[in-house]
Amino acid sequence: IDCTNVSAMTKYTLYYFNLRARAEVVRQLFALAGEPFEDVRVTFEEWENTIKQRGEMPFDALPVLDVDGTKIAQSMAIARFLARKFGYAGKSLYEQSLVDSIADQYADFYPPLSPYRNTLLGLDNQDLEKLLLADLRPQRDEFFGYLVRFLRQSGSGFLVGQSVTFADLLIAEHVTTFKSIDPHYVREWPEIEQHWAKIRAIPNLAKWISERPKT
């Protein structure tokens, strides 16, 4: 690094809770790109009682990324902004649109899984077996079926194109979370398991995963 030019380096500050959840893909993009950033993790109390009251966050929610004083809200908008900057958004407009569509499809897929996940984490009190058979498995299988088609079409081991994109990061992180709840989550989906292992093995990412706070 040319230290005489430090003032020209962009200052990134990410505000979120001490969770992976919605901020993790953003943190992983910084890690992949080897870009330094300030990883601010606030408590729920600080958020409710102080930060939110100040009205600085554009949509009164987190995560928010501050880039040299300008704030951007919404995790996927932040992810796309950084991914385009660092080269993880897709290599052509068409590839970018496919990456965007996978991210949007994932956002549609995820909320219906909440009852299952919350019950397992003790935050909800529903019939696990019923949820598993009626909700989780069919929805997972439908979604993974489509993802496998993308994998077969690209042939690269990545979801879109020949290199990693933030769509890969989203899916791999989802598998990480659900594997920690259910070790057999991808047993019937070897291609998804392969994809998960491949993404996690990317050197910069592997390093981040081993060093990140355990949440």
């Binding site: 951007i72 908008a77 569509s101 499809q105």
Partner: protein, 245 residues
Amino acid sequence: STFLFKTSPFPLLFFSNFHSKVSFFVEFLTICIKLRGYCRRIMPEYKLHYFGIRGLGEVPRQIFALAEVKFENVAVTREDWPEFKKKTPFGQMPVLEVDGKFIPQSFAIARFIASQHGLAGKTPFEAAWVDALADQWKDFQNDFKKFWYLKLGFGEGDVDAAKVEHGIPARDKFFPLVVKQLKKNGSGFLVGDAVTWVDVLVANAVADLEEKEAGFLAEYPEVVAHQKKVHAIPALKKWLETRPY
């Protein structure tokens, strides 16, 4: 005319031997293929596949209209859908077909067309803010639809109760943010000094709300003014007057 006859390839075709005829044919075919590729690059063929309703297809259609880009509006019938579904990337519509390839998800489609026609913000920051507002609208819609779908006659439940429990809180969480952004931005549009695809998205939702639940946004005059401004843009106004559904 003799000059044209002598310098055109046709003498070669008619007066040459078989070998020359073949090479002329190959030359001609190569030129045709190159011309087709060139035409595809400068004028891609767009087909938007959706049901014959506004729904999730309307915003992509409006982006095409605003960008003044030709597209084929394919209305898939309920009978044809099961078969077509298998060809789509996620088993859903709308799906945009570009020169034989599919792009799913309405926001990805909107962004794809908007980016190519100056409707996605002028800088990376502006593009990010357009995306952020669109996602914020989607969060609003995910809550709001618990009331709205009942109102439109889908599903079972007490519409009035849903309005109080879901409709009004969702409205009062989202639209103040829209007003805040409009005031902060100051141009009359949501981001930057020109219309973007999120203006189209929000204006479409607002028009739909006002049409079916008049006065629902009475406390948000700036939002209604924004909708009128966006829908007064000539290309969009024309679409609204002539759209099929």
